[in-house]
C-alpha cells in the first residue's frame, strides 16, 4: 500500500532537543504503522503562536504563516499541510481561511511575502495530525496495529484549547469533544470522565502570570486525581509542558503532592502498537509514566 503524503510543518517546540522533542519521536512509529509519510517543509518558520499578537499585530503574523503555506504549496503541490502542534495548526488554518475570504488582505500579505521571494495562492489546506488520523485513516485502521492494549490503565483525556477551539476536530462539540477519549479507548485504555477536559492551562501566561496559570493547572491535575486517572493524555505541546512542568512548583508553593504523568496521545499509540519506551519518547517525561513504560517493556 502506498503511503499517504502530507507536507509537514513540525513547529518550533517539536524540533530536536526542544521542549516537545519526545512528541515528534513518538510520531515515528505511528506514521510507519499507519502508512503516513510526512514531508518536512524546507526552511519553515515559527507560526508566531498566539502570544505573537502583542508585538506582531495582524499582518506580520499572517505573513509568517502565509510563508509556511506558500512553501508547502511550492514544494509539495497537492498535499495538505499537516501540523502536530495545535498552535501551529490554528495559526496556519486561520491564515489560510482569512486570506482566502479577504482579497485585499491577501494582496497585502503577498506584497510582504514578495520580500521573501514567495507568493501564497491560497490553495493549500492546513490540517492537524489528529484530523489526518481520524478523517483519512479512520478509527478501524487506527485500531488494527494495536498489539499491546493498554488494559487497566486509566487516562484523563485532556483536550485543552486549541485543537478544540475555535475550529474543533471532526465537527465535535466544543464543550465535550470525544475524539481524545476515543483514541484512548482505541489503544485499549480507559478514558475517565472528569470535569476539566477543555480547561485552559494558562497558555503563554504560564510565564507572565504564573500564579493565575498555576491555578488552572492545579484544577486540571486535581480533577484527574479525583476521578482516578493514572495519567493525563494531551494532543498539545504547551498543555503537556505547562501541566507537567509546573506540578513541582505547585507542590512547593501549595504543599500538594502532585506527581501525575502527562503524555501525548501518540505515546499511547506507539506503546499500544508495540513500540519501545524509547520509541514512545517516554524517556522525555519529567514525571515518569511508569505504568506505560511497564507495558512497553513487556
Amino acid at each position: 500500500m502506498s503511503k499517504k503524503q502530507y507536507a509537514f510543518y513540525p513547529g518550533c517546540s517539536s524540533q530536536a532537543k526542544a521542549s516537545a522533542d519526545n512528541f515528534l519521536r513518538s510520531i515515528e512509529v505511528v506514521k510507519e504503522k499507519l502508512d503516513i509519510q510526512l514531508n518536512e517543509i524546507p526552511d519553515w518558520n515559527c507560526c508566531g503562536a498566539s502570544i505573537g499578537y502583542g508585538e506582531g499585530g495582524e499582518l506580520p503574523r499572517l505573513a509568517l504563516s502565509a510563508r509556511n503555506l506558500a512553501l508547502a504549496e511550492t514544494n509539495f503541490a497537492g498535499q495538505d499541510m499537516v501540523s502536530v502542534c495545535p498552535a501551529c495548526w490554528l495559526a496556519s488554518r486561520e491564515t489560510a481561511e482569512r486570506l482566502s475570504e479577504n482579497s485585499s488582505l491577501l494582496a497585502e500579505c503577498n506584497e510582504a511575502l514578495k520580500e521573501a521571494g514567495l507568493t501564497f495562492k491560497g490553495e493549500v489546506k492546513a490540517r492537524h495530525f489528529v484530523e489526518v488520523l481520524i478523517e483519512d485513516i479512520g478509527w478501524e485502521k487506527m485500531k488494527e496495529p494495536v498489539v499491546k492494549p493498554l488494559e487497566g490503565l486509566k487516562f484523563a483525556g485532556y483536550v485543552g484549547c486549541q485543537t478544540n477551539r475555535p475550529f474543533g476536530i471532526a465537527g465535535e462539540s466544543f464543550e465535550n469533544p470525544k475524539y481524545l477519549d476515543k483514541m484512548i479507548e482505541t489503544c485499549g485504555g480507559e478514558a475517565v470522565k472528569y470535569d476539566q477536559k477543555v480547561t485552559c492551562c494558562g497558555g503563554a501566561l504560564a510565564f507572565s502570570e504564573p500564579e493565575k496559570a498555576q491555578k488552572q493547572i492545579r484544577d486540571i491535575v486535581e480533577s484527574a486525581y479525583d476521578h482516578g486517572a493514572d495519567m493525563i493524555v494531551t494532543p498539545c505541546q504547551l498543555c503537556q509542558a505547562n501541566v507537567e512542568i509546573y506540578q513541582s512548583e505547585i507542590n512547593k508553593k501549595q504543599g500538594t503532592k502532585f506527581n501525575m504523568p502527562v503524555v501525548y496521545y501518540s505515546q499511547l499509540m506507539t506503546v499500544a502498537y508495540g513500540g519501545t519506551a524509547e520509541q514512545a519518547g517516554l524517556d522525555g517525561q519529567l514525571i515518569k509514566a511508569e505504568k506505560l513504560e511497564k507495558i512497553a517493556g513487556k
Binding site: 502570544i51 501566561l205 519529567l286
Partner: protein, 206 residues
C-alpha cells in the same frame, strides 16, 4: 512631533468606536455585541479582568478611549478561544482582544511593565531573529527581563526544572550558541518589516 496617539485622537475626536473599527483587528465587530455577558462568564481568567470583554465593548461604544487602551484587561487573554465559540453573535472576541492589546501597545498606552506585554515582545523579538523560537534564549530573556539580579533569582528558582528538561533531552544548552534557525533569516525579516509597514500605514501608525 505629534505622536501616533495624538494623531488618532485628532482624527477620530470622540468617536472611539470608529477608531476601533478602523485600526483594531476585527474591530468592525464591536458594534455587533448584544451584551449578553457569555464571554465574561467563559473566560478562564475572568475574575482577573478589570473590565470583561462585554464591558470593554460597552466602553468602546461609550467612548472611554483612555480607560480601554490603558487597561491591562486584554492582556489577561490566554488565547483559549472559549469566548469565540460561545458568543451567540459570533464575535471573534479573542482576535478583538488581541487587536486592542496590540493597538494599545503600539500607541504606547498599554501599561508599562505588564508582564504579558513584556513576554509577548520578548517572544516576538526572539522568533524574528532566526525565524524560529529559541526556547532557551527566550526563557533566559524572560528571567532577566526585570534586571540581572532578579534574573538570577528567577533562573535559580527554575533551575531544577531546567536541569530536568535537559536530562529529558527537551532543553539543549547549546541553543545558547546559535541553535535552530531558518536559512532565509533575512528574507523573513524583510517580509515582516514590509508587513508591519503596510499595516502601520493603514492604521496611521507610520
Amino acid at each position: 512631533m505629534t505622536t501616533a496617539n495624538e494623531k488618532a485622537i485628532a482624527k477620530y475626536k470622540n468617536d472611539f468606536l470608529r477608531e476601533v473599527e478602523a485600526n483594531v483587528e476585527d474591530g468592525h465587530w464591536v458594534k455587533m455585541c448584544m451584551q449578553c455577558g457569555v464571554c465574561a462568564g467563559s473566560c478562564p481568567l475572568g475574575p482577573h479582568w478589570e473590565h470583561s470583554p462585554q464591558k470593554i465593548f460597552m466602553m468602546i461604544r461609550a467612548g472611554k478611549r483612555e480607560e480601554v487602551l490603558k487597561s491591562d484587561s486584554m492582556w489577561m487573554c490566554t488565547s483559549c478561544y472559549n469566548c469565540i465559540v460561545r458568543c451567540p453573535r459570533k464575535l471573534p472576541i479573542t482576535h478583538i482582544m488581541h487587536g486592542l492589546a496590540n493597538y494599545a501597545h503600539r500607541l504606547g498606552l498599554a501599561p508599562q511593565g505588564q508582564p504579558t506585554r513584556e513576554i509577548a515582545k520578548l517572544f516576538w523579538d526572539n522568533l524574528i531573529k532566526t525565524g524560529r523560537v529559541n526556547e532557551l534564549k527566550f526563557s533566559l530573556a524572560m528571567y532577566f527581563k526585570d534586571g540581572f539580579s532578579q534574573g538570577i533569582k528567577n533562573a535559580m528558582a527554575m533551575q531544577s526544572i531546567g536541569l530536568g528538561l535537559m536530562k529529558a533531552k527537551r532543553l539543549n544548552p547549546l541553543e545558547l550558541f546559535g541553535g535552530h534557525a531558518c536559512k532565509d533569516k533575512s528574507g523573513i525579516q524583510k517580509m515582516i518589516a514590509k508587513a508591519r509597514e503596510i499595516e502601520d500605514r493603514r492604521r496611521g501608525l507610520a
